[in-house]
Point group: D2
Chain length 328, copies 4
């Protein structure tokens, strides 16, 4: 498959490198308003610098990887859908649910295959947990507990345009909760505060938050977020059911342990998402390529993107209003 | 110290045995409406069967251990307070907050020393976690996560008169959250459902629940409860702050591990509270005796009992109404 | 059972306290050349100070606990055996195998029940490992690996009269190897050196040593000893067989773990034998009492004591001569 | 660097794929008596089938990767050395120490750079352990304990020509012991038996073995090998010193854990060397390329290969004769 890659930033580089490393895919065009960045990434991956129109619509392109800023996602998806390309788009589709819905209308009309980049579904640890859940290891998941903590908060400039922690950071956890609960949440209660950096609070956002979700049949998910963890990128999931509990933890850099007077010290966990989810990004791409080749719609799809965004909106509203929010 | 023990059931037996095992305490009277039970426990601990009046008020008694059914607690506390005894009472003081408040008035008037049996504060693992928190190991606790799961639900008859999961089971976790947050919660959001046994739902209660608490300064506690865990008595705490994360986990029966084709199998965790909290009950008694001897008020005290009950009431209300509940 | 306790030192105190704490046993006499020590221990355990003759031979005594210095063990065993008492003796019976053999002759002639204090067999972790081995968890144990490290070396004065590391410290591991292999070793190869303290080497002993044992059918045990471990009392066992591997590790003081920039720090292990083997000493006493009451010979017995000593002698010889030593 | 690869079997495939995956290296020739295997590997890695002479000596070749059967190693090393190529050779150089010595003479005369494939030095876990040791984490390593167990024994035909467990399997552990002890062993004691498969014993070999090594200053290494482990490829190292203990354990397939009635089950370990040492093979190649480019001699070198072989010979002799064997 020949890809057009839109966006040569941090996440664009990851996807482009993974595309280039596959024997069966190639990066044809890289587009970015920062031409130097586009040129460097094109050079590194064997592609050419192209315009957005080329990267999204050129005849020789089979698939588009949208790694541009969020506010361009929906437009680019529509453009690529109309051009008949397979579409991989980073999360979220848009910060506005109404805009997402209109975009998905276009996707539907054109019959385009759209995959949204909830990479954590493809982490080998979480994917194995999901597979064992699906195989009945614990029975139905009654309580799903998700902990996500970043090593350090993003720049304030990023926070300001991020849509807030619930839409920017916790959206991954909403997708994971839906993925594991196998049933749509119908109620959301959120609490949050700015404990890491008061400036985040002054910017109208939180850096520390907890949410409970409940599904129609009464299954519960708990989510815990912090924008800061002294010990690295904390990414853990636990699911509890009638037959037992299953969990997937952090990945340590090595298996080395030191025993000294203070106790037994296990090695650090992988520091951030580039290390922790390196395998997940490759597996995600593989799922996209495999489904596209087979003429199937890849998952997570646009509906998954929309539903995670609706949960994020509901959590944001719950936090702002101090009320529990029901979902349609 | 010479104790009168009221109640010769499961918890009465624990406390009476611990009193009798100390060189500096003795069980003088055991009172129970079930005279055979009282006689057996008196025999086992070297005491005598007595009436409630004797056990609470006899001149030779220094301290009263109230292990009777909950609906008798407040009356017994008042009686013992008026008799000038040091009082240890199992949690909760009462299911009704107004009744607790009246009881605590009497305690205050009489100047009695009252300790409420939140035994988990004295678990060596949780007590060590608290001590390290207090020593600044992680900075302020920003997110406290508490997981409590019982191996199996109690009989329905017990459920019916228990006051509900939030008041009967999660009350321990409310006390622990207060203990670790070092600040009073001002808001409670609760969700719950009956997933373990529909009959529990029909009885108007839940068996699976999650709660979020928030303090004035924005610290958050998450609590997760289930009335059933196939793997034993699941009792875990985690606290997250600027400098790191600290947690205390379950206690395994042994350190034995088996490596076979399915992986590495660590031993079972201690099955239920009698095993897991055996040391906690002894340490709790020791704290009571030590404080009483020194003429100090032991903690957790009546106010701690009241505040945990108010949190339980608020969580119950939040669950019933689907609203977040503010605390005065 | 009424006990005469010989020796009011560190180990005598442990056994006497455990005897006194049982409802069905009592300390009747405590004998020690240090009369103040004897008096203190008698007072603490409710017994009386007695002469060695009283403690070993008085008509009212049922059992003798020999906690005196090693060079008195054999004489005291013989005396107690001739007096018709049940005998518990700390390891080793003697540093000289010939003396052990003569002593066991007397035990045999008199039909006395003699238990030797290889307390580690009764550690709940190791006892569970043994039980699972016996139940076939891994098939036959093909490789048994034993690690024993003390937190710090004993005083040089102790080293000088200890018989050497192989007879004083590793003897426990020889017993454990026999216990787990279920077959007698027929060959021993030992290496050792003084790395912890050169003065130990100058005293003709080692503080760091490794041994391999082989049984007739080719099963192997590895033993590793050091007189020093910065992280506490390191006591681990592993057994490997056709169906898997089973191991028992150190016991941590609590389950508390701290995650910070350096990694995940589990709590310290129990510092030394008083903590680590507290439960083992109680279970050992229980086995002695139970067997004695039932008129059965308790294990480990005199033969076990002899065989461990023969292994220690062989290891010592192997170390001194640089040869592998065969056992008859 | 342009490589000639000799041998298109299992290990040849690993190295050729790693060479081909690097941007700065290429597979130029693949030579194998099995022409179909050579052709397949050449095709997969972008090289051409060549004769041994071409792969070792063609002018366009910079480096030779010797992955042929052991009995060809020494001849090929000499040939490549005389052709002035950088040489990577799988372990061992030869089963006969005299032959190794003659080969190393040629290497010395020609000034060739020779690296021997002790891949475990490059495992990220073991390399980190070594780095921390070198940084003084535990002080000097006083006791090094190495456990190596294969999931299943090789075919008997392989066993017959392998030189025996000590030279074929444990040679890796001898290299690791030297690597970690930082001092040459001067004495070896070995025991071994055929417990996994009697046919291995009938073929004059062992499948279960333990060895102790001692260095001049008294440091000790313990090695434990089995040709079978029901739980996968068991590869563990532990080092003990004055300041503590450091160890590196097995790598689990995922971090998933399941808690059920039998306990807490951690995931399987990586099954065999292809998975466990995938990163090590890449790092080994990188070290070879980096050193060769810098005009430096890579390590482990021919002397390392010789010394590990001499230890293997000594262990084999110790096992056969029942004597401890001294090394010059």
């Amino acid at each position: 498959m020949r890809f057009g890659v839109i966006g040569a930033g941090r996440i664009g580089k990851i996807h482009a490198a993974n595309i280039a490393a596959r024997g069966d895919c190639e990066v044809r065009f890289v587009a970015d308003v920062d031409e130097a960045a586009a040129a460097a990434l094109a050079r590194a991956t064997g592609g050419a610098v192209g315009s957005v129109d080329e990267a999204v619509g050129a005849a020789e392109i089979d698939a588009v990887a949208i790694c541009a800023p969020t506010d361009l996602h929906a437009d680019l998806i529509e453009k690529a859908a109309r051009a008949g390309k397979a579409i991989f788009c980073e999360k979220p589709i848009d910060l506005d649910a109404a805009r997402i819905r209109r975009c998905l209308e276009v996707v539907k009309e054109t019959g385009a295959a759209l995959m949204v980049g909830f990479n954590r579904r493809f982490d080998p640890n979480f994917a194995t947990l999901k597979a064992r859940l699906a195989a009945g290891a614990i029975g139905e998941a009654e309580i799903v507990s998700i902990t996500s903590r970043d090593p350090a908060p993003p720049p304030l400039s990023y926070v300001a345009r991020s849509g807030g922690l619930f839409r920017d950071m916790m959206i991954h956890d909403f997708d994971m909760a839906r993925f594991l609960l196998d049933e749509e949440p119908v109620a959301v209660a959120a609490m949050g505060s700015a404990l890491v950096d008061p400036a985040i609070g002054e910017a109208g956002d939180v850096d520390t938050a907890a949410v409970i979700l409940e599904t129609k049949s009464g299954r519960i998910a708990q989510i815990s977020n912090s924008r800061r963890a002294s010990y690295g990128y904390d990414q853990r999931i636990e699911a509890h059911g009638a037959k037992g509990m299953i969990r997937a933890g952090n990945v340590r850099e090595t298996t080395v342990e030191f025993a000294g007077p203070q106790g037994l010290v296990a090695d650090r966990i992988q520091h951030f998402f580039l290390e922790r989810y390196a395998a997940a990004y490759r597996a995600e791409l593989d799922a996209f390529v495999t489904a596209s080749r087979a003429g199937q719609k890849p998952r997570p799809d646009g509906e998954d993107g929309l539903k995670a965004s609706l949960l994020a909106d509901a959590a944001h509203l719950s936090w702002r209003t101090g009320r529990r929010v029901a979902l349609a």
